[in-house]
Subunit: 385 residues, 2 copies
Amino acid sequence: MTQRAERMNAIQPFHVMALLARARELEAAGRSIIHMEIGEPDYVTPQPVIDAGIRALTEGHTHYTPAVGLAALRERISVFYRERYGVDVATRRIIITPGASAALQLVMAVLVNPGDTVLMADPGYPCNRNFVYLLNGEPQGLPVDASTDYQPGPAQVDAVWTPRTSALLVASPANPTGTLLTQQALSELYEVVMARNGSLVVDEIYHGLTYAAPASTALSVSDAIFVVNSFSKYFGMTGWRLGWLVAPQDYVADIDKLAQNLFLAAPTLAQYAALSAFEADNIAILEQRREVFRQRRDYLLPALRELGFDIPVTPEGAFYLYADCSRFTDDSYRFSKQLLEEAGVAITPGIDFGTHQPERHVRFAYTTSLEKLQEGVRRLREYLK
Amino acid sequence: MTQRAERMNAIQPFHVMALLARARELEAAGRSIIHMEIGEPDYVTPQPVIDAGIRALTEGHTHYTPAVGLAALRERISVFYRERYGVDVATRRIIITPGASAALQLVMAVLVNPGDTVLMADPGYPCNRNFVYLLNGEPQGLPVDASTDYQPGPAQVDAVWTPRTSALLVASPANPTGTLLTQQALSELYEVVMARNGSLVVDEIYHGLTYAAPASTALSVSDAIFVVNSFSKYFGMTGWRLGWLVAPQDYVADIDKLAQNLFLAAPTLAQYAALSAFEADNIAILEQRREVFRQRRDYLLPALRELGFDIPVTPEGAFYLYADCSRFTDDSYRFSKQLLEEAGVAITPGIDFGTHQPERHVRFAYTTSLEKLQEGVRRLREYLK
């Protein structure tokens, strides 16, 4: 083996991928596996968006768009913010990206110098720390637990902030815990970050998938916050690879320049199709799906608690339950492998989400039908008894 | 303005974008502009691929694929290498990417540590240096001119190599010059790079668009070379955002890990559609288009020479002519602006391609019809007389 950049030692693969590969092997050998590890909605994209994609193809929309995206889509998202949240977001601040992944990369690339620290919740979305490692920065996990709804608090952020800290990244709803940040909590975090001349980045990719009150957007708090969003989760468009970034106006020219160089543009077809994502007929379908996700959560949460998993905070969004499994194991990775091999249930071990007590946590995703979730619980009950 | 990563000072926007924006303004005001600045084929994607995209949508292929791409597409590309080049490329070494942009980013991220140097031709594709800046490395231009067909030579590479040099990046056919590297030249470059324990990366995204002999692939030289390719240019699929990377086997696990984190996967629909790109009916269309590009080159090259542009090497590939304009100006950027404003012809100034004599060069793209090219030449003749 020849040369290899040092960052590759820090960047970890998703451990769940090895479990998923083993699950596929077992299935190929005839075993039935209940998939509760998968972080994407089980639904196909709603028909109105598929129809819009077919129209775009028929009309020959196959060339590049501008690097910041189709003007019509940027405008439509601005209207969406006014309609759904009652907040004015200037169209010029909205940048269309190839998935929220690209949006996160763009934000980090304009903010993070080598050696800079970015603060983020632990447990949290696995890729976040790797966007920072890519740029030779240092992700710093903020250990969070049920006492703060698995969200970092302003005093915690302030206590660890140093002159080399460049940003705080939070998510609402969060992956893997499904908890939200209230507008008040977002305001308090923003105050701390601003006082330190840092940047606040808020991942809102699970917005829309909430089961009590709607989530607050950080855009209501300040125009100086970076907000990342996506067509993948609520809109059910994972494979289209389309997201967006709302940036403070001062950063838009830099982000445009980076997007030109790193991505050229988001997929054209996805952008044309997404124009239909906000129409009433499509939203009606999405709201029916949200209700189904709520029913799944309302079944799975008490069922897992009854089995002996500790889930102290009721998750209000996304499609995940983050469960303490220490009644059964002190090695959640081995436990996940055993559940797969011996019970035919696939879940995600805590190690994928950070270093704060991963060995005693697992994540269940309710991205499969109620019937399959019921069968999964039956298998777990049988195995754990 | 608050914090801003230092790399943003090094990363330049495409200067041609300002000219393109001005061209759009002039057109909105009723002016006719001949576009010879645009780096994508004027054709819509061929109908067989569009039809395959519609089928994929109808069948509901809207979920994520594996991070390294659809197995069937990776296999199809392997077969393509055997059919077209007579070279065996193991399927497991082929990684599907969201455009060649993502492939270039993946390669650089696994190779380049902060402070490392990457060698590349100057003039060359503008984004290349910015992928290196992103990672806090140092792109180092190798000045090239007509004496070596605008390609770096082994002695030149050897002379500037230092212990901090990690890779040499070359392109065949090259942008902006359209010149090729022979298999012999690729072998010689590879020998030098190997002797220095470095990596060779070859951009083959304009393969297929050659007008004399076909281009040689670096995969015929060694399995230890990184090769980047794309569905954008020859296959006419720019807006779909789909490319691929062939990596040495030792790097595949690292690249998979990075792709999982940085992109999740390439667009699903594009991957299904691309399965049809290699079929005989589609290739027949692509070959007809190649013949049209050849006719355009064969018209434009002597026409520009006759006007007084110096194009000492006949470009054998891509769809660009890189012309010395020093008979008319010592400021090619101002010259490009004047041609746009006063002659209604848009071209790309040399400054977008590097720092080696950019002020005396411009790039003409023949990505518009023969009729428009003829009108462009008529306008240039009128203006320059």
